[in-house]
């Protein structure tokens, strides 16, 4: 065959393949835009979490113990005096407990024991008794060591000679090291292990043409689904076990290569316990993935659905793993976080009975809920009504055409805006005010208009640009005026951010004091009220509403809105705000009420913190605060009623 003919055919086929691939918009979305969004998000979250964790550990004073006086010991008095001075000078970092024993370290009554040693020469010898398998103890040892070794009085000779004395066993140490990496890896492996079997058991049936055969069998959907989920769970557990084993062995191998003299035992009992902790989460992940994959028409579509779900579960797990939070009863109910922290505690041999119970129960509860959802979705009516795209009836096609803006458009708008926003971050850092203005007016407002124009939509359809009724505008103002305090209180109760985060936020809001209030108001209240509304309650919300029921559309849009803010502690408040604003936009069929509410919400917060009224609210008596929250809630409810009355329920279909 001649070469030019070959080249011609090569080009021809290449172009055709590319065309086919690029026309599969869903795949593209997952393949390109998804990673663009997820990794920056993950990186930002993890820096925030790490910073919070560091400051949390820093804030905690180290409990330093000294033993009871042994008579005639030369160094004892000097050292005691040294520590007393230290603790009185820095009470926030050190607490002194006298008459302590080494076993107090083991029993976690103190973090480090400063033990004077025999045989002082020029320097005084001390041993720091600590437990290196305990984070607080490691930190206390480092702090005391840093202080003692830094003492250079007489003739610039080091005054102390400091030895470490580690109480932890080899097993506890390797357990500690494993506890830092293993939980996240186990969650990752369980998710990966459930991924393909879940698709195979559901969307795979449709693909292989056995769906109808299965549906027509005389069994309850819940029994069928439970059996499928159990089989997926078993595969996921086997994957998890294989990884656990392989990781433990590799870990030991690497450590003994680094230090051949040292014996590193594998904490078998702890690993065994960790497998027990794996079981309910494997069931939960499998149920969720089976439920999600049951909606999909094809294997590929299921992959596209499960990939976001997979990351959605990975994010809390990563956060928990980096943040290294104590497993409180409240956290025991947060899916993903709870199991990661619980696995850590199991490997540390530190799991409390109450949290064990709560974690297992809540995970089992979520798993059962997910299973019920899966059984609900796996019903012949649904499965057979989803038509093959290839032989969709003419009527079905027509309904799709009616909604000009659909979920993929919405996702695309979100992903693009997010990428633009991230790309503009350096700009925002460098030129604070101008950068923030540019990011919002160009990156959101301008972007939406370009996007809408390029897609050839009518602005009124894509954004909801029409005048609202007076009632809707007034109601929106009331809602915005009350919302900030309701949402703020909710945050305080559910996930109180550490003080430095609040401080940072205030600084951001008010700048370094030299920015006039009107400028801040323009920047943080007026601009977002317009730009964020146009983007989120524009194509993003309306696209979702084109594909889903109003409720679902509002919820998805609110989740996107809160993710966009890239702030772990404001996830919940911005989500609630997103729900409210989304409802406003759909109910009033106009973008304007959302802008009004948004303006009131942000504006009040700024004015209050500018004039120092916020701290006054915080310091007031609990009963006053309660009354305030009650009043604000009433305001919001009246607002909702006003909006609802002025905008009778109509079809929200675009």
């Amino acid at each position: 065959m001649n070469l030019s003919r070959m080249a011609f055919e090569l080009r021809l086929i290449f172009v055709k393949e590319m065309r086919e691939t690029l026309r599969d918009r869903r795949t593209l979305l997952v393949m390109l835009l998804f990673p663009l969004v997820v990794y920056p998000l993950l990186a930002l979250l993890s820096t925030q979490v790490t910073a919070a964790r560091e400051s949390r550990l820093d804030e905690r004073p180290s409990r330093v113990g000294i033993p009871a006086e042994s008579p005639g010991h030369p160094a004892y008095k000097t050292i005691t005096q040294e520590l007393r001075t230290l603790t009185s000078k820095e009470p926030k970092r050190f607490v002194l407990l006298e008459n302590a024993k080494a076993q107090d370290v083991a029993q976690e009554r103190i973090d480090v024991l400063v033990k004077p040693m025999e045989g002082a020469d020029v320097r005084l010898r001390v041993a720091l008794v600590h437990d290196s398998a305990r984070e607080t103890s490691r930190r206390a040892e480092a702090r005391v060591r840093e202080h003692l070794e830094g003492q250079l009085p007489d003739g610039c000779v080091l005054r102390y000679s400091v030895d470490g004395e580690d109480l932890s066993t080899d097993e506890a140490r390797s357990g500690y090291l494993l506890s830092r990496v293993l939980p996240l890896m186990v969650v990752l492996m369980l998710l990966l292990g459930a991924f393909y079997p879940a698709i195979d058991a559901t969307a795979g049936e449709r693909e292989r043409g056995t769906l109808e055969t299965t549906l027509v069998m005389p069994v309850q959907a819940s029994v069928l689904l439970l059996a499928k989920i159990l089989s997926v769970s078993v595969i996921a557990i086997l994957t998890g076990l294989a990884n656990l084993l392989s990781m433990a062995l590799t870990f030991v191998q690497v450590l003994s290569m680094a230090d051949p003299d040292k014996q590193v035992p594998i904490p078998w009992v702890r690993l065994l316990l960790a497998t027990v902790g794996m079981l309910p989460s494997a069931f939960l992940f499998s149920s969720l993935m089976v439920a999600a994959a049951a909606i999909a028409r094809t294997f590929k579509e299921a992959q596209n659905l499960l990939t976001p779900l997979y990351s959605l579960f990975l994010v809390p797990s990563v956060v928990a793993s980096i943040g290294d939070y104590p497993l409180t009863p409240a956290l025991a109910f947060v899916p993903g976080v709870n199991i990661t922290l619980y696995l850590r505690d199991l490997i540390l041999a530190d799991a409390a009975p109450l949290t064990t119970l709560l974690v297992l129960l809540s995970t089992a509860l979520y798993a059962v809920l997910a299973m019920r959802l899966a059984a609900h979705l796996w019903n012949p009516e649904r499965l057979l009504a989803i038509r093959d795209p290839a032989n969709r009836s003419p009527v079905a096609t027509r309904t799709v055409v009616e909604a000009t803006i659909t979920a993929p458009d919405s996702l695309l708008a979100f992903a693009l805006a997010f990428v633009i926003f991230l790309a503009s971050m350096p700009l925002q850092m460098r030129f604070h005010v101008a950068g923030l203005f540019a990011a919002q007016w160009l990156g959101m407002f301008g972007f939406v208009f370009v996007y809408v124009r390029l897609r050839g939509w009518r602005v009124a359809d894509a954004i909801g640009w029409r005048l609202p009724s007076v009632g809707a505008a007034v109601g929106a103002a009331l809602m915005g005026a009350g919302a900030w305090i309701v949402v703020g209180t909710l945050t305080e109760v559910v996930a109180k951010p550490p003080a430095e985060v609040t401080e940072l936020l205030k600084k951001l809001l008010l700048a370094e004091g030299d920015r006039p209030v009107w400028l801040t108001f323009l920047l943080v209240a007026v601009t977002p009220a317009i730009c964020e509304e146009v983007l989120f309650r524009g194509p993003i919300l309306r696209g979702m509403a084109g594909s889903f029921s109003p409720r679902v559309a509002i919820a998805i849009q609110a989740a996107m809105f809160s993710l966009f803010h890239l702030d772990l502690y404001r996830l919940l408040p911005t989500f609630c705000l997103g729900l409210m604003l989304g409802w406003l936009a759909l109910r009033s069929r106009s973008i304007v009420p959302g802008m009004v509410a948004h303006l009131f919400n942000n504006g009040i917060v700024i004015l209050l913190s500018a004039y120092g009224a916020e701290s006054a609210v915080e310091k007031s008596a609990p009963t006053h605060q309660f009354a305030l929250v009650l009043g604000a809630s009433a305001l919001v409810l009246v607002g909702i009623r006003t909006v609802a009355r002025s905008s009778p329920r109509r079809s929200v279909k675009m």
Binding site: T210, T213, L215, P380, E381, V395
Partner: protein, 263 residues
């Protein structure tokens, strides 16, 4: 209407499948729009019509897969709707796409189905042996289904639908994709089941096939029956030479091909 109900009450006694004024819509599409027919034991009834006439929807309602919006349907003495699982237990259901679990062997598949449909454990092997003899499956039983040819797959699939010896067979375009010989084999198997007293309803858009196989046929168009009768009576009624021509004349399409017999 009263007359219809009287007929319905009468036909319940003798008929295994009774459908009266059945309705089902998907959104604004009325897939089944007032369909009525009945099938007696030992009878093969053919639902004939073009793609999108509502045949599959009607059969899926009878199989307890979809719920009707209105009307009545009864299968093997049970009303469709309240207990779809019991209905599914009493029917054999077969579609053109064989729908076999490819990674199981034919024998494993038949055992699984038989157990799930409640065939007593001690009778399963005998049942499989009997079916494989009559359908010629002996050499296939221990091969994985995914490796079988289309015709072989369809034979295993019939065995699957018959393994619990149901009184009612619902066949949705059972010969789609089969060659001439395999189709003939399938028709023989279906006729044999008729001889054993089963009530069989099948859908097809091959009119020649309906003529070969069915005792009675109903022309379905836009969700309802437009003609019903034996193949011979329908030909006589429309004055057409073939069932094909009869169908076209019934839906009011004139064709230059009228009068020629096509497969």
């Amino acid at each position: 209407m009263a007359f219809l109900f009287l007929r319905y009450a009468q036909s319940r006694v003798t008929n295994r499948i009774v459908v009266l004024d059945l309705q089902r819509s998907f959104g604004s599409l009325r897939a089944v729009d007032g369909l009525s027919f009945s099938v007696a034991a030992g009878e093969i009834y053919g639902l004939l019509g073009p793609n999108g006439a509502g045949k599959t929807t009607a059969l899926r309602i009878l199989a307890g897969l979809l719920k009707p919006d209105g009307g009545h349907a009864q299968v093997d003495g049970l009303p469709v709707g309240p207990d779809p699982i019991e209905i599914r237990r009493r029917i054999g259901f077969l579609t053109g796409s064989a729908g076999l679990y490819g990674r199981l062997s034919a024998r494993e598949l038949l055992r699984y189905t038989a157990s799930l449909y409640g065939v007593p454990a001690n009778r399963i092997e005998a049942r499989i042996a009997k079916l494989s003899e009559s359908l010629g499956l002996e050499s296939l039983l221990d091969r994985r289904c995914e490796g079988l040819s289309t015709g072989q797959k369809q034979r295993v699939s019939i065995a699957r639908a018959l393994v619990h010896d149901p009184g009612v067979l619902i066949l949705d375009e059972p010969t789609t994709g089969l060659d001439v010989i395999a189709s003939q084999g399938l028709r023989d198997a279906i006729s044999a089941e008729r001889a054993r007293g089963k009530a069989i309803v099948l859908s097809t858009h091959y009119l020649a096939e309906a003529e070969l196989l069915c005792d009675r046929v109903g022309f379905m168009h836009e969700g309802r029956l437009i003609r019903e009768g034996t193949p011979t009576s329908l030909r006589a009624e429309t004055g057409a030479l073939s069932l094909e021509a009869a169908f076209l004349s019934a839906v009011g399409v004139t064709s230059s091909l009228s009068g020629t017999a096509t497969p």
